[in-house]
Every structure is written in structure tokens, then in C-alpha cells.
Subunit: 152 residues, 2 copies
């Protein structure tokens, strides 16, 4: 495998992850997350605490899917960094989503969200699998970035 091939394969799995979310395909999400008892998976949804292990992580996706009628990800700034059998992907998730309908409406109100994610993948015999996902809201500042003293 060349480095370029690895990067392509990682990008494809990263895209598949978001497409599975869009389709609400729980089985695909479950397949894409690493299933290795030696290397515990971890997940942080925007604003959430850390979720650890397949039980907690997969339950969170079931919960999110149950509360999401519609979701679309426009990925930008996708960057892959490789080291051995680990790949690190960062990307910006431009999200448009809507909750379940209320009061007879067809769809809940649509909400736009700007989230950045760090996704860590491991190479397995079955392909690259998600070891960790960390998404967080981007709190956009108007102009003067130096005013932000948030730390670490």
C-alpha cells in the first residue's frame, strides 16, 4: 500500500461515516467503529462528556438518530495525517439538521451548526475503523482573535 492509497482509503471511510449518519444507518455506524477489546473506542459529541466503549458510544448514536429526523453534513477542510497503522482526520462539519416533527408539521425546524472534528482511525484486516471521534462547536469570533484566551 502506498501512502496515497492509504490516505484515499481513510478519506473514504471518513466519508462513509458521515453518510451513514445522514441515512440513519445504525448498523453501518456500528460496523465502522473499531471492535477490538484491546483498544477501547472513545467519542465526544459537541458539548457532551467523553463516552467510552462500544456500549456507551453506540447507544449515543441510537439516541441521536431517534432525535434527528434529518441531518446533512457538508465536510470541508478534510485533512489526513498518517503514522503507521493509525490515521488522524480533521474536518469541519457544516451541519444542517432537523428534529422530529411537532404539531403535525412535516419536519422540525432546521438548524445550522459549525462543528470541527478529530477522527482517529486504525488499520484492521477489514479496513480502516474509527477508534475515536471528537466533535466540538466552533464559537466564531467577530474579528479580533487575540481577545480569546480560552486555554488548552
Amino acid at each position: 500500500m502506498t501512502r496515497a492509497t492509504d490516505i484515499e482509503a481513510v478519506e473514504a471511510v471518513n466519508t462513509a461515516f458521515y453518510e451513514a449518519m445522514e441515512r440513519g444507518d445504525f448498523e453501518e455506524i456500528s460496523d465502522l467503529w473499531l471492535d477490538d477489546r484491546r483498544s477501547t473506542i472513545t467519542c465526544v459529541h459537541p458539548g457532551w462528556p467523553v463516552l467510552t466503549g462500544r456500549g456507551e458510544v453506540l447507544r449515543s448514536y441510537a439516541l441521536i438518530m431517534a432525535n434527528t429526523e434529518y441531518i446533512q453534513f457538508f465536510l470541508t477542510d478534510v485533512q489526513v495525517s498518517l503514522a503507521g497503522d493509525t490515521a488522524l482526520v480533521t474536518c469541519t462539519e457544516n451541519i444542517l439538521s432537523g428534529g422530529p416533527a411537532e404539531d403535525g408539521a412535516e419536519l422540525g425546524p432546521l438548524v445550522g451548526q459549525l462543528v470541527v472534528a478529530t477522527n482517529v482511525f486504525r488499520r484492521t484486516t477489514g479496513g480502516w475503523r474509527i477508534w475515536s471521534h471528537h466533535g466540538s462547536p466552533v464559537l466564531t469570533e467577530t474579528g479580533d482573535e487575540e481577545g480569546d484566551d480560552t486555554a488548552a
Copy 2:
């Protein structure tokens, strides 16, 4: 190296990272971040967009240090997941910080912050080094977690 030794070594470097922040030790921070042209480092501070490469990442620490008079991290829930030469650390950063003094005061007002972090480390000949840091604010909910439908 046994697995237990690896975990101990990773935890030590993770602790050293936060202690260097507390001391405002820029040189130590710079040493702890991976310096490998093949594997680009990435960093997300709470609420920030993704920073990529040593230039951007280290400048952000210089900026944060310049705007932080006092900072202390109380780490809880530190968990290490290992796979080959990569280690994934998740932890809760209970942060107490203060900005520079204003109007002759000794210290700016102290602010408490609850942040969760995913830190990725790579094994190098010189020890474990930080490949990626992603910190995000925990937006605590009062009771009913099921009301949160934030996604991915």
C-alpha cells in the same frame, strides 16, 4: 515494554503536558509536541477551529500563554487506550484560570471551565509525543440528557 509500562509512560507525558501549561513553559510544550514531517500535528482548543502543523499550533500556545496569568488543571477521568505505537488519552480538564491584571489589580478574575480532551500520542525514540489535542467545553444539562439531540 509491557502494556502497563506503556500506559504509565503515556500518562506521565499527558500530565507533563498540562503541568507545562500551568508553568507557562513554552519550550517544554514545544518539545512535547511531535516533530515529524510525515505526521502533521493538529490541535483544537475549546471553541476554536482546527490548527494544523507546528507553526500554527505552537503560535496558539504562545498566544494563550500571553493572555493567561494563572491556569491550573485538575485532571479527572484519565483513560488510556493503546494500539501499537499510538496512544489515545481522554480526560476531563477541570480548569481554573485568570487573565492578566487590569486597573492595577494583582490578577484578573478567576474563571472555572469544564473541558473534555482527546489527546493522541505517538511513540518516538525520544518517548511519547503529542500528535493531536482536541479540547471542547462540556455544556452541562440539567437532568434530562435525552433532550440533547446534538449530532456527530
